[in-house]
């Protein structure tokens, strides 16, 4: 299978060769703010859930920015932020070894057990 470069022009997808452009170079920032992952608790009693990420100089700024970006419509009552570099993630290529062992253990689900109708709500 060969992939041809996509020339189709959808909204927000203008090919570079048609765009003109200049040699303007942004001055290098000597410092780039680190990336943070944001977790929001939408109301008391619920888990914090990953909402997205943002750049900030430190944790306090990350929380303040997260407030502005992710809770403008009362989406949250509590915010966690953690620098993205501290997140360890499982490797998609190991998905087989990690999750397949659970597939054939259907006896771990309540629906595996057939009970007489008289036994309600068990």
């Amino acid at each position: 299978m060969t992939h041809t470069f996509i020339k189709k022009l959808y909204y927000g997808d203008i090919p570079e060769e048609k765009g003109g452009g200049s040699n303007y170079q942004t001055k290098d920032d000597s410092t780039t703010w680190p990336l943070w992952e944001v977790f929001i608790r939408s109301k008391q009693g619920l888990d914090h859930k990953h909402a997205g990420s943002l750049h900030a100089a430190d944790a306090q700024m990350a929380i303040e920015n997260a407030r502005d970006v992710y809770t403008r419509r009362m989406e949250g009552v509590s915010i966690w932020v953690v620098e993205s570099k501290y997140i360890n993630a499982s490797n998609p290529e190991e998905a087989g070894e990690l999750y397949e062992p659970a597939i054939d253990k259907i006896y771990r689900h309540p629906t595996f057990y057939q009970l007489p109708d008289e036994v309600n709500h068990m």
């Binding site: 041809t4 959808y10 909204y11 927000g12 765009g19 970006v69």
Partner: protein
């Protein structure tokens, strides 16, 4: 495993409506296309703040001012969601910003038109955001997970943008003769550029299948454009205004509105940088970035200093 097998597995996932996540294997062209599309979408949100920002200080009432500020703030947020989604594909924020400022990366051409009157705040919300929403609703189901999630969030927030735009025009359409004229004039100026937002006609595009096959996009330019025209042609009746196209007519056979020819020379001219406001828009972005540099540096220096202090204590 040979590359062909990876590609086959990848396509199987897409066909099964599984989402692709950042750490999953993906073809280079899929990554590239997504980076280009998502970052240009992000740039559109950021540059899109400028025509509206123009009217914040001159909004006709405190209520309208508050609404406009909220809308512009949303757009900054939408830009951020999208930049973050593009970053998961391996392009840094700095690089993206630099490509915008150099003119290498594009943003939606619609923002190269000036916002001349207050009615434009209505027309932008109704027509420009309306056109964008059609795209964005489709993109909620795009195959790249982070992009799809960003779009879901954006669509939730965006619907107020279109409604407030229509309401702004509705108030004007029921106002004085002068306000009515302003309303009509604004619709006249924004109608054709809004139609251009959907891109060239399907018949003029080559290699169009790949984006559809990868389910990055699910509808063609012409399909979306027709949806938009059918929707707006009905809504304008409520305003008692007209659309500036004498060929616009309901076609009973097609069950769609027929419409006149779009000026594609104008479209390409604006894309290439010759629209009424291209230079102004880029200059405003560069200025904001350059003048913010010392703030970014100072914040980082402060954070470092505080870290040292906590360590010492």
């Amino acid at each position: 495993m040979p590359v062909q097998d990876f590609e086959q597995l990848f396509q199987q996932k897409i066909d099964a409506e599984d989402k692709i996540e950042p750490k999953d294997w993906m073809p280079d062209a899929y990554r590239k296309t997504n980076i280009r599309q998502i970052s240009q979408h992000a740039h559109s949100e950021i540059v899109g703040m400028l025509p509206e920002g123009n009217w914040i200080s001159r909004a006709p009432s405190l209520k309208r001012k508050a609404i406009l500020i909220a809308k512009v703030q949303d757009e900054a947020g939408h830009g951020l969601y999208l930049y973050s989604a593009a970053e998961t594909l391996g392009m840094s924020r700095e690089e993206m910003i630099n490509d915008l400022h150099s003119g290498k990366a594009k943003y939606s051409s619609i923002f190269n038109y000036p916002s001349l009157t207050w009615a434009d705040m209505g027309a932008i919300g109704w027509l420009v955001d309306g056109a964008a929403i059609l795209n964005q609703v489709m993109l909620c189901r795009t195959s790249y997970g982070p992009y799809a999630r960003a779009m879901v969030r954006i669509c939730k927030e965006e619907s107020f943008h279109q409604r407030q735009g229509f309401e702004t025009l509705l108030v004007l359409s029921r106002g004085t003769d002068e306000q009515k004229a302003m309303c009509q004039d604004s619709i006249n100026r924004w109608w054709w550029p809004s139609l251009m937002m959907f891109g060239p006609k399907d018949s003029e595009s080559t290699n169009s299948d790949q984006s559809m096959k990868w389910k990055i996009k699910r509808k063609t330019n012409d399909e979306l454009r027709q949806n938009f025209i059918d929707m707006i042609a009905e809504q304008i009746k409520v305003l008692g205004m007209t659309l500036p196209d004498d060929k616009l007519k309901w076609n009973e056979e097609r069950k769609h509105y027929d419409f006149g020819e779009i000026d594609w020379d104008e479209f390409w001219s604006v894309v290439k940088g010759n629209g009424p406001c291209n230079k102004q828009r880029l200059a405003a972005r560069r200025k904001a970035h350059e003048e913010g540099q010392w703030v970014r540096e100072a914040a980082m220096a402060f954070a470092e200093k505080r870290k040292l202090k906590t360590k010492a204590a």
